[in-house]
Symmetry: D2
Subunit: 430 residues, 4 copies
């Protein structure tokens, strides 16, 4: 079965004929929902999906309004069944309560999903819903309902890990180029280099979206833990022998479908990929990332430390010592990763992700990524997080229960070297 | 990915070491649930599944008790959030309400499902749960929670229709032999005959259970609407040319997994198979069933009609006229199918299924099935239901809204010929 | 692409209308051959194949006569080009010579092969040809031409090794049941047992015959070298854990297609299967056969040794000592395997095959196979041949160049214990 | 099984250590050939292939010399067996004769083919052989032997037709870009456009070379017979609805593997693709090519016709009338295609191919291809050849037996309008 691509459907160019089209789409949704059982087969579901897809953005927004307003649980019925359950938490009272509390749009989504290609439309619908959510906070419960269903349907148990290589179909490969979010893939030759014998790429797929990678990870097989990303991205780099590799460097991980935001696959992916690699290449010793530190410079701007103002000069570039800021920035970066927090968790989102997965912060690397965007966000510094499968569960528990950041002695030592903040007065004097 | 067979797991023969094993399984379930996010990967889920599977029947029953009792929604929290929602049905109040109302075991099931083979274990778990439900009505909400999730996961949109033939793997084919519920398959040669060039067989599969047909249907390609099933079941019958067929006779449809009881696939299957066949063999004119009438004789026993007592004599067999009961039974059968009801729906379960799908009762056939069990349940009479795809939706609506049984004039005429019931006194006189 | 089964085509039941049908078939063969290049596409080839297949056995025999007589190389042209080549072995003279020497039927076979299903018909044609060859020695060159082509087409490089298990299609599995030539497979349950977790089965396939195993081998995974075959054939035997196995016992190997007689696949199969197994189960230590000794009793009948006459008594059965012939027969059997020859090679065909492959005769086993046919042919004794991959090439060279039978000391010792032959006079006295 | 790409192997960059490497390779070839039966498995074959592949170009040429010289049939043995066959053309004499005449290198090739990847190496070997053949006419018989075997192995009956689209693997798609010989594919976006919904692309594959298309054809689905190729090659052209197409325009056909030169697949491909398309899109009415006329301008240079000299002016471009050469060139082109011959066959190679396949020359098109190379070779004129499946066999026979060019009346009329040649004297006067 082949499923139309999501993206083509997202932003319809057909003009919706004003409100009548939206009313028609809503009516089809109601008809689908009122249909007893699955009796009409999947034809009705397809009609409703078609009506939705033929709406323009404004029409869809109106439909979302209607679904948010009119397909919610009935408050009185909720209150009545809840009170009955409170008095007698029997099985039948629980069943009645749950029926009252489930929003009717949940059943609507399930019926829409029955049509061929339905899953793809629902994922795309959520993408559009999320795009409008900031302007429409009243859609939040609608979004919660859809997210709840998608989270259940995209359960890890239903996902299939597939290796991506040069034998993969072009329809999938072009999506890697399109979606890659960490280190841009600059066309087919760049992609080809990333799929050579000294690289690995894996993705999760869902059976209902066979041409859509949900998340993918790029791995370089190297002899030692890599500290700089530019050599990995060099299309002309010689291809090394994977049997001589000792390290698997995870240098890029990308979530593909915005419509699945908040449903996390990354932790599963990293761990299963590590197991696959260990099976294929038993000589591998280290599984580590080469990761960006996206929040570093924003945080630095809040630090009152002499010398940091040089960073903000136009055209500043990191360089090798002695004429560089390395000695100043590296301790600050270590401090940032170890101690900057947002309600008990690391402030840096990438640190939060890997440390939450049970990885350990192993090293930070000056001149790790010298691309303009990396200099802009992290002064070009990158981090290595190491996944030791035997430790991740324990690390994770320390992280969750004691809010501890597991890091190497080297990083901890670095952090202790950071300069203390200067009082505002001192700054004024300068 | 290969999944262990369900059946092998169902009834563990390992002795559970009393209650401690159950307590261990429950503790693993709690640990899995308390784990924040998906951090531990799928290892914990696999442990919990293993603990469950190593329990014997008594141990599982104890675990079901615990899951029914301890993993239900908290009544006070339910009442509080419901009241908040009643006062202000805002998005955030709805989200809080739904979080409170969902039983924690739902999340437990979702996490168990993450492990390889998890879906199969959950389906088998429900089979065992259903087996014990009559003795344990307190498990009803637990069952409702599990059924709710399975219904969502086995949504039509995720099922794959596959043709079954002699090129299908033995692991699937042996399941047809095992599961066939309408006309027993007597070994491999019988199965082979049912998969020859003049037959078709289709099944729905779920990607997480690749070797498990969920439901399958057997079709004979014939020149006219078949009235007797024995020729279809004859292993030595000559194979006819499918290109000369005009009718597709659906002569057997079987739901395979008891653990999915109540989740109906049959309607979808019949309609998609009719479409597939029309595509493959455009010359087909009629799509009809040759169906049992399982409730006829039970109903006849309640009819006060002279002559019916002959049916109950030991060794009674239907035969050709004049020495038979045909003239008496056929009108009664028509009356049964058209007018015997159970709260507005046909009393006969097979009639209820096909008429509810929008089929039309076309004909009833004396000597349709002369096997002992068919004589026992339906006096050997069978029914043909016709699926005209253009009519099924309209028929279905008449059936649902007006409780009408759509039938041919011939059957309606037959039903009018049935003898009236005799008052008890008259009977006494005879 | 699906190919009709070979067997169904072999013995046509349609009556050939006498000689005219044969003449028509021959004319179609000539037309196909005269066609310039491949211009008519494959339609002509299909017509010729159909004409051949619609002939009955007598018609085919007449066609074979015609092909043997009329499609051979022209002797005068052969002589002329050969003489030219003798005088000047230039490239152009060689090319002209080879064109003259190739029988035109070779090109005919190649063109017949172009039609869908052509390969299957040619293989079946050779089966029928071989069946008639003893009565028609004049077909020998025709057979040599066809065999030459089939040997080239079924080159090892084009064969695909596939594992056969319970997930294999029924269309292939039923052929194992049909073809098995060593230890009869008694129906589907017997086959299923041979495909359980402690067994392996592999076959070679050719891409043009996707449903036809060419040769298959059955392997039992055991803890030590097996000496008796009946436990392996026991359908009810418990299934052991393959991870605990130390030996792979090859207990049956069957060539499937009579039409490929003389084209040997067995040696390749055994060696590749050994490599596959070593990869899958690195703990395996021994790769050995449990093999019949089909020629033993025929050879024994020529030995003049006292006591052997007891073997010929009706109802003789091998048994355990002391009341058995074990002490007499085992040394004789060792002697037979080591020393009975047919022009430098072992007389026993199974010994010839395995020793020629480079295996070593390791052990002979009293009561190895107690089935009536095994008692009839080998007095129930079986042999173990061991394949040590590191040794097979060296063993093979000794076998080929020095006609040596590589055997264990135990078997060599046994052979030295055989009784000497008695002169005829002594026998007469007895 | 995955096979290394051919191209990577073709021109080894490792320096061959002079003649000793060649001698080693030849010795391995002899060892492989002397090996009795297939006893050593495929290891020896792999060694010999590796030795060949590690040779540089000079080393390979030396090896070819040895194979040409030392692995040919023995002239004396040939003469003897030929004489025996002439005297008595018995089966046994034929068999002996053929054994004597077959060059030993044929058996060598067959044994080399047994190793994994062997077929690919042999195809690449012939590519290199052909490259050196003009300098080494003494390799001709060697080439004939290899070609004979490859023709037999790449028999139509073993080829698999596959549709190529955007779901095809990148490893195959990049080969289309590399091999395309008619209208260059300018990168991935160009390729993608040629695989959209209004296009079809098909290729033949051989099972032993799964990633290597042997030949591929590109088809545009259009509403009428296309006369200009540039719109078909326009990457930005809108995608039309294939269900509205009436014509299938074959606008490019490319043989991929130089090593298979002389083994023709094109005729089979066109005819099977036409059948596939008719099945998929029954509304198609016309199957036609839009073809180059590569030999036109060379032929024109031999015509003594006034005005043609304008063609040779630097920068000449075809244009619309009146200021063009259309009125002069179109009749000459028709004459060229109809009457210019090379030993009874059309002089133009593309005309020879399509007319030989049984197509009909339907139309010639001014400004058909305005690319510089097309102007250079054919003055920008293109031809449409129509394949009517019902006629191709008859047309082919007329072509072969009567040397007739089947053409439309329009083209025949055009040809009659060509100016007569001017005597040289007249020319001199002008």
């Amino acid at each position: 079965m082949r499923v139309p691509t999501l993206l083509g459907r997202l932003f319809s160019t057909l003009p919706g004929r004003a409100e009548s089209d939206t009313r028609k789409a809503e009516a089809l949704c109601r008809a689908l929902l009122s249909e007893r059982g699955e009796a009409a087969g999947t034809a009705r579901a397809r009609e409703a999906l078609d009506a939705y897809e033929s709406l323009n953005d404004a029409g869809r927004a109106r439909l979302f309004d209607a679904l948010a307003r009119n397909f919610a649980p009935d408050p009185e019925r909720v209150a009545k069944t809840a009170e009955a359950y409170r008095r007698d938490p029997s099985a039948s009272n629980q069943i009645r309560l749950q029926a009252a509390v489930e929003a009717p749009r949940q059943e609507l989504f399930r019926r829409l999903n029955m049509a061929p290609g339905g899953t793809a439309v629902l994922v795309a619908m959520r993408q559009q819903l999320l795009a409008g959510l900031p302007q429409h906070p009243e859609w939040a419960a609608f979004d919660a309902d859809l997210a709840h269903l998608l989270r259940s349907w995209f359960n890890r148990g239903f996902l299939v890990l597939e290796r991506i290589d040069w034998r993969t179909s072009a329809i999938v490969l072009e999506k890697l180029i399109r979606y890659e979010a960490v280190h841009e893939i600059k066309g087919w030759p760049d992609l080809h280099r990333r799929l050579e014998a000294d690289r690995r790429c894996f993705a999760f797929f869902h059976p209902a979206l066979p041409d859509e990678p949900l998340i993918f990870i790029e791995v370089a097989l190297t002899t030692s833990m890599t500290c700089r990303v530019q050599p990995l991205l060099d299309v002309t780099a010689p291809i090394s022998d994977p049997r001589k590799a000792r390290c698997a460097m995870f240098y890029s991980i990308t979530n593909c479908l915005e419509g699945l935001r908040g449903i996390s696959f990354g932790n599963f992916l990293i761990k299963q990929v590590a197991e696959e690699l260990r099976r294929e290449l038993p000589q591998l010793r280290t599984f580590a990332t080469l990761s960006p530190i996206p929040g570093l410079r924003r945080w630095l701007r809040g630090q009152k430390v002499a010398g940091l103002e040089r960073l903000e000069r136009p055209g500043w570039q990191p360089a090798r010592k002695p004429d560089s800021l390395e000695a100043l920035l590296m301790p600050l970066c270590a401090d940032y990763l170890l101690h900057a927090k947002r309600s008990d968790e690391p402030l840096d989102p990438v640190a939060r992700f890997h440390l939450g997965n049970g990885a350990r912060l192993e090293r930070i690397n000056w001149l790790g990524d010298t691309s303009p965007s990396a200099i802009e966000s992290s002064a070009g510094i990158m981090a290595n997080y190491v996944y030791r499968l035997a430790d991740v569960e324990h690390n994770h528990e320390l992280f969750v229960n004691e809010h501890r950041v597991i890091a190497s002695r080297e990083v901890e030592r670095l952090a202790r070297e950071r300069p203390t903040e200067q009082p505002a007065a001192a700054e004024a004097k300068a």
